[in-house]
Each structure stands twice: as structure tokens, then as C-alpha cells.
């Protein structure tokens, strides 16, 4: 019952805000209200509590994390038009920052670090050794580290164009996990724990809610429901950042580079700087998502960071509609659902082992999309209009012939 009341509340509130504060038309306000209501209510629906259902809570949380990744890559691929096949690098940096700063691992780095015990507003027990910083601080650090990594990776690679850029970013995405795999003995220091991975990683701390009176006990615990809202807020913030940047000076420069790099530079747009910004902004989402991922999974293992990850996120952006933030979210959610639950669920229910044909299935989906809807589920407004105009022009030409 409470859920229903909440649902109606969110629905009405969102509709009103979008309609009257942001001055959008009814359809947009309606869609926004329905979308946000589903997103908010989701973890309270019965089926999410059943691990065998078609949408268990863990998958719900992962869908939101991947939506954040897709939003990040959308800035690079969709806005600036830079084909990046190494997005996994930012995910990796974010996750390892989370692992380093929120676990016992620091004591293993070297003999002299044996007694290290740093705590700062964290959710771990005070006598637990290692470095344990507040999740909220770690998320910021992870975002900053990923952004710096983006600039460092981007500086040499962004001088390249299209296919060459794709290849070099792919290379970086392959090299970095190898470095981390062998990072258990770098100059005598164990920095990554190699193939053994790092864990357990602390939970998201919700202690700050204690100072707010009247907050129900249920949302203090660091369960998946609470964590889901945390990642939902991150997604919301990144949507805001994406949209505002897109419509501003930097966004115009990104789009100009996407449309015609040479003309953009001759119109006063500094290419390197502008491209690096897109890498850095996109990397922040990867870093934040990575640190969050570390806390929900509880361990970070180098085997999580594969080329396949970069491809899945790229597919999410393309399926959703390049350059459209809502499309990226939808693409991320759909792909993640199939990947973590959908294929297994369908296999179990139908008796046909779809999971075995995972790659064939994804390949088929991509081919079908390219044939029938190359612009993605929700194409960017400008893509839609330009395509429409192209069609009209073709039609008039045919008439003329």
C-alpha cells in the first residue's frame, strides 16, 4: 500500500516539475514522470526480492550501474564522436580506487605498512586494519582519478582519428588489466594483489542519515535497496551534467568536432583540449561507477575488466541511440538485464539454452537493430530531424526523376 502512495506521489510531483518548472510539453512530462516512478518504485516490487525472478534486486542495481557507464561513454562516443573501445580502463581505475581505500588490502602492500589502520567516517569496524575511508569521499576520489587517467590516456591517443583512435584505445583497454594482473610485485610493492583480487570491500556508509531525525531505520542498512537509490542519484546527477554540458559552449565544440574536425579547428575550437574534456567527463562516470561496483560486489578481481565490458557499454550506447542520454540509460538497462538475468531466465522458462548462444544472440540483436533501427531506441533529437529531412529530400528527388 505504501508503495502505491509513493508511486502516485512521485508521478504527480515529477510531472508537475517537468511541466511547469522546466516548461516541457505534456508528453515529455508524462514520459519523465512514468520513467522516474518506475525507477523509484522498482526495488519495492515483490519480484525483486526473489533471486529466481525475472528481475532480482542485484540485477536491478547492476542495470543502474551500467546505465551510468553508458551515460559516461555517451559523452565520448555520442557527443564528441570519438570511438573509444577502451572504456574498461576507467571502470578499472574506479574499482581499484574503491578497493584500495575501502578494504584491509593496504596492509599487504609492503612489510612496513603491516600496521596501517586509517578510518575516516567509514562503515567498517574501527579495529579493522587497512584503509577505510567514507564511501562518499572515495567516490569523489575515484571520479577524479579516472578523469586524470582519461587525460593521461587521451593525451597521446586523441591525436589519432576514427579507426586509429579505436585501435589504440582498444590496446590501452587490454594493457591496463595486464598491468594490474602483474601488479602484485611492482618494485617490491604489492599494489593490486594480482589475480587473487582485493576484498572484502566496505559497504556504502549511510551514517550521515543519523543526524536527520525521523529517518526510518530501514534505509540505514547498507542493503541493495539503499544502494540502488545511491546509484540512481549518481545517474541523475550525470544526466544533469550531460545535458547541461551538451547545451553549452563545450557541448557545441564536441558536436562540431564530431561533424567536421578540420572546420571546427579553423573556427577556433582547440581540438586536443576539447577532446580531452570529453574523455575526462566520460571517465568520471566510469570511475564513480567502478567504485560503486566494488562496494556492491565486495571484491575487485582483475578478471572483471575485459574487452567485452568496453564492447557491451558501446553496444548499450549504440542500441539506445547515440548522443541521447535517455537512450543510453535504456540501452544500458536492456543489455545488462539480458546479460545478467534475461538469458538465463529465458533459458530456464523455455527449455531452450539461450545462454549458450549468448554472443550469437547479441550479434543477432545488433544486426537486426542496424537493419531496422540504425538510429537506436531513442535517437537524439537532432539525428531524428536530420534523418527526416534526408528522407523528404530523397522523396522529392524520386518524384523529380
Amino acid at each position: 500500500m505504501m508503495v502505491l502512495v509513493w508511486a502516485i506521489g512521485v508521478l504527480v510531483f515529477t510531472f508537475a516539475v517537468v511541466r511547469f518548472v522546466f516548461r516541457q510539453d505534456q508528453n515529455k512530462a508524462g514520459l519523465a514522470a512514468i520513467g522516474l516512478t518506475i525507477a523509484v518504485i522498482l526495488p519495492h516490487l515483490g519480484f525483486t526480492k526473489d533471486t529466481g525472478s525475472f528481475f532480482p534486486i542485484f540485477t536491478v542495481v547492476l542495470c543502474a550501474v551500467y546505465a551510468l557507464f553508458a551515460l559516461g561513454l555517451n559523452v565520448v562516443v555520442g557527443f564528441a564522436g570519438l570511438l573509444d573501445l577502451g572504456y574498461v580502463a576507467f571502470f578499472l581505475f574506479g574499482a581499484y580506487v574503491g578497493a584500495w581505500l575501502m578494504s584491509i588490502f593496504a596492509v599487504n602492500v609492503s612489510e612496513s605498512w603491516r600496521d596501517i589502520n586509517i578510518h575516516f567516517l567509514d562503515a567498517a569496524k574501527p579495529d579493522f586494519p587497512g584503509i577505510h575511508l567514507s564511501f562518499w569521499l572515495v567516490v569523489i576520489i575515484a571520479g577524479v582519478v579516472a578523469a586524470i587517467a582519461g587525460v593521461i590516456i587521451g593525451a597521446p591517443t586523441l591525436r589519432l582519428k576514427s579507426d586509429y583512435l579505436a585501435l589504440v584505445t582498444l590496446g590501452f583497454g587490454e594493457i591496463l588489466p595486464e598491468v594490474f594482473r602483474n601488479g602484485d610485485d611492482l618494485a617490491g610493492l604489492n599494489l593490486t594483489n594480482g589475480t587473487k583480487g582485493i576484498g572484502p570491500i566496505d559497504n556504502v556508509g549511510m551514517g550521515f542519515l543519523d543526524v536527520i531525525p525521523g529517518v526510518p531505520k530501514t534505509i540505514r542498512s547498507s542493503d541493495f535497496q539503499t544502494k540502488y537509490y545511491v546509484i540512481l542519484v549518481f545517474c541523475g546527477l550525470f544526466v544533469w551534467v550531460s545535458l547541461k554540458l551538451r547545451d553549452g559552449r563545450l557541448g557545441r565544440a564536441w558536436m562540431a568536432i564530431r561533424e567536421d574536425e578540420l572546420a571546427a579547428s579553423l573556427m577556433g575550437v582547440p581540438l586536443m583540449r576539447t577532446k580531452l574534456w570529453s574523455y575526462a567527463v566520460g571517465a568520471v562516470a566510469g570511475g564513480v561507477g567502478g567504485a560503486f561496483y566494488a562496494t556492491i560486489v565486495g571484491t575487485v578481481n582483475v578478471d572483471n575488466f575485459t574487452f567485452q565490458f568496453s564492447i557491451i557499454i558501446l553496444c548499450a550506447v549504440i542500441l539506445g541511440g547515440m548522443g541521447n542520454v535517455w537512450g543510453s540509460i535504456l540501452g544500458g538497462v536492456v543489455i545488462t538485464w539480458f546479460n545478467y538475468t534475461g538469458l538465463v531466465y529465458i533459458s530456464e522458462k523455455s527449455g531452450f539454452d539461450l545462454k549458450q548462444y549468448e554472443f550469437a544472440f547479441f550479434g543477432l540483436v545488433l544486426v537486426v537493430m542496424m537493419l531496422f533501427r540504425p538510429q537506436g531506441f531513442i535517437p537524439a533529437a537532432r539525428t531524428k530531424q536530420v534523418r527526416q529531412a534526408d528522407k523528404e529530400m530523397l522523396a522529392t528527388q524520386e518524384v523529380a526523376v
Binding site: W240, V241, K244, L245, G248, R249, L250, R252, A253, M255, A256, E259, D260, L262, A263, A264, S265, L266, M267, G268, V269, P270, L271, W277, V281, R382, T383, Q385, V386, A389
Partner: protein, 259 residues
Amino acid sequence: MTLLDARGVTVQFGGLTAVSDVDFVIPEGSIVALIGPNGAGKTTFFNVLTGLYQPSYGEVLFDEQSVLGVPPHAIAARGMARTFQNIRLFGAMTASENVMVAMHPHLRSGVASTILRLPKQRHEERDARAVAKELLEFVGIGGTDDEFAKNLPYGDQRRLEVARALALRPKLLLLDEPTAGMNPQESAAFTAFVHRVRDERGITILLIEHDMKVVMGTAERITVLEYGAKIAKGTPAEIRADHRVIEAYLGKSATEGAA
């Protein structure tokens, strides 16, 4: 005062010399034309001025500072704007956005103020849109602000390119075959427009052009290139009478027949 001073500019691509030892001076406030048969190296010379190519030899001073080794965007920011022989607009962006891209060096708002939507950033954006609107009206395509560049008719696209170049607030405007594909009426209107840009905005203009009517109607000084070398320079009247220019365009027998 000299706005642009190119000395001994030579561009070689492997064994091919595209531009050979060209001296070129543009006085501030003038309209100058660069003409020559196809493949004479005119566009290559433009590309040297705008920083796309580095010359093998020679020096280019713009506003008394060298442009050699300066990246194209920085040269543009210093006040050199150009249009392109084959139109290069940002197709999936609106006319207004196209113009606003070229204001990039003059706008100040950064990432933080954009994300936070600070009042300063909002005002800057509003002013930029107003300037874009005004520029579109100036080039004669007012009201197309929200049309995608790709969907504009050909003639309007050419005008939009000029509006975009003007948004850089240039001291020197380079026009690469601006009347290509225009009919005689449009070309005549364009001739008048070039004068307006110079007279109303005080912008020095260098144009590459094949249409001799436009060249003779606009340029105060003309330089002629053939096979990358400068073969003549002077006023329109002098160029018209120069037999080397006639040879370059019409062949040797044309001058022999006249003599």
C-alpha cells in the same frame, strides 16, 4: 598598415612544389584577390595562412606575429577566419549553433559554471544567441536560426559559412571561391555583400575566385598564381592587360593572335 605579410612561402609535398617562393602583402582594410588556373596552389596558400600546412620555406606574419607553428585554432582566435571551397558546415547543428561554435574563443564559461548554470554563463549564452541571430540577418538568412545547416538551400549554406566566419570577429576574412555554384544575379549580389563586410565591419578580405566579374568588381589588388609561382600582381586594370595572365588562362596563341 600591413595586416598580412607572407615572404618567400614555399610548400613542397615530396617532390611536388605546390607553392613556390610567393611574396604576398595584404594592407589592412583592403580587398585582395588571389586568382589563377586550377591547381595553381591558391587553396594550398590559404591552408598555409590558416595553419593547416607548414611551409617548407618562408615566413608568414599576421598582425606582425608569425603564424608558423601556431595551431589552426589559435590562428583563428587571433582573428583569421575562412570559408571553404566545398562547404564545410556542421550539418547536424542548427544555423545558430554553427555560428556559436565560432564564438568559442570569445566565450568564457567553463565546465563548472555550465554544470551549475551560473547566471554569468546563462547571460553569456543568451548574448551569444543574440549575436548569432544578428549575424544571420547580416548575411541575409535571418530567421533560419533553428534550421539544421544540412537542410538549408545551397546558397544559404554559403551565406551561413560567412556568418560563421564573422562570428570569430576576424581581422582578416579568407573566402575560398565564395561564388562557386551561384548564378550571375547571386554573384552580383555577393560582390556588393563583400564591400558591405569590409565597409561596415572593417574586415580585410582576401578571396580566391574564378568568376572574373566578381574579382574585377571587388578586388582592389590582385595577385595571380600559376603552377605555384606568382606571375603577376596589380590593380584589376593592370591584371586585365597583363599578357602573362592572359597566357596562363587562355594559352600562348591567344596573345600571339592579339599581337
